[in-house]
């Protein structure tokens, strides 16, 4: 699954640690999601969507569907 987390974070000039704090996860988790090594759960995807005021599809894209 591809995602725009890194781009969205950079647009806001946030560090991984700041984003992790906002999402209530570890920095390691944010890093793994950004690198595409780990797919977040639906609740975490919703939290990210709420934080960035976007829909889940605007942040996460299914590579197989693309």
């Amino acid at each position: 699954m591809k995602n725009r987390l890194k781009v969205l974070r950079a647009e806001r000039d946030w560090t991984q640690a700041q984003l992790a704090k906002e999402l209530n996860v570890s920095r390691q988790t944010v890093n793994a999601i950004e690198k595409g090594k780990f797919d977040p759960s639906l609740p975490l995807a919703f939290r990210a969507a709420r934080l960035f005021k976007l829909s889940i599809e605007d942040i996460f894209q299914d590579e197989e569907a693309a």
Partner: protein, 140 residues
């Protein structure tokens, strides 16, 4: 769907508290195990009632440790839960496969000593720690 927005920013604090609890209950379990093992011989001269009480205390503390471990796992963030579960599956699998083989080694005369459960526990602990290290490396 459970929302953690209300608990924002406190997963690290919660995880730290759960780790402390787990450390405390693991230490208590080790102590009650030691008491159960050595108490009958060195402290109360094999008094059946006291020995039975020490066994019950050990089991009680052991079950509490399991519950605290479960709470510790649930308090982790989702990546760490995955790493923990992957390591647990690896440890359980290796323990089952190697444990059954090890148990047969004396029967088929490949070893001369009786297989000990402690060796299996050590193997499972080492496998679990290796699994945790590999998981952290994988998602680094």
């Amino acid at each position: 769907m459970k929302d953690q927005q209300g608990n924002k920013n406190n997963w690290a604090e919660r995880c730290s508290q759960n780790t402390k609890q787990l450390r405390y209950w693991t230490a208590a379990w080790v102590l009650t195990s030691a008491l159960m093992s050595f108490g009958p011989k060195f402290i109360w001269n094999y008094d059946t009632a006291i020995t039975l009480l020490s066994v019950l205390i050990n089991l009680g503390v052991g079950f509490k440790m399991i519950l605290v471990n479960k709470q510790h796992l649930r308090g982790m963030d989702e990546l760490h839960q995955k790493i923990f579960l992957d390591a647990g599956i690896l440890s359980l699998g290796v323990g089952l496969v190697c444990g059954l083989t090890y148990d047969l080694l004396q029967d088929i005369r490949l070893i001369s000593f009786e297989p000990k459960i402690a060796h299996l526990v050590i193997l499972m602990c080492l496998t679990f720690m290796t699994g945790i290290a590999l998981g952290h490396r994988r998602y680094r």
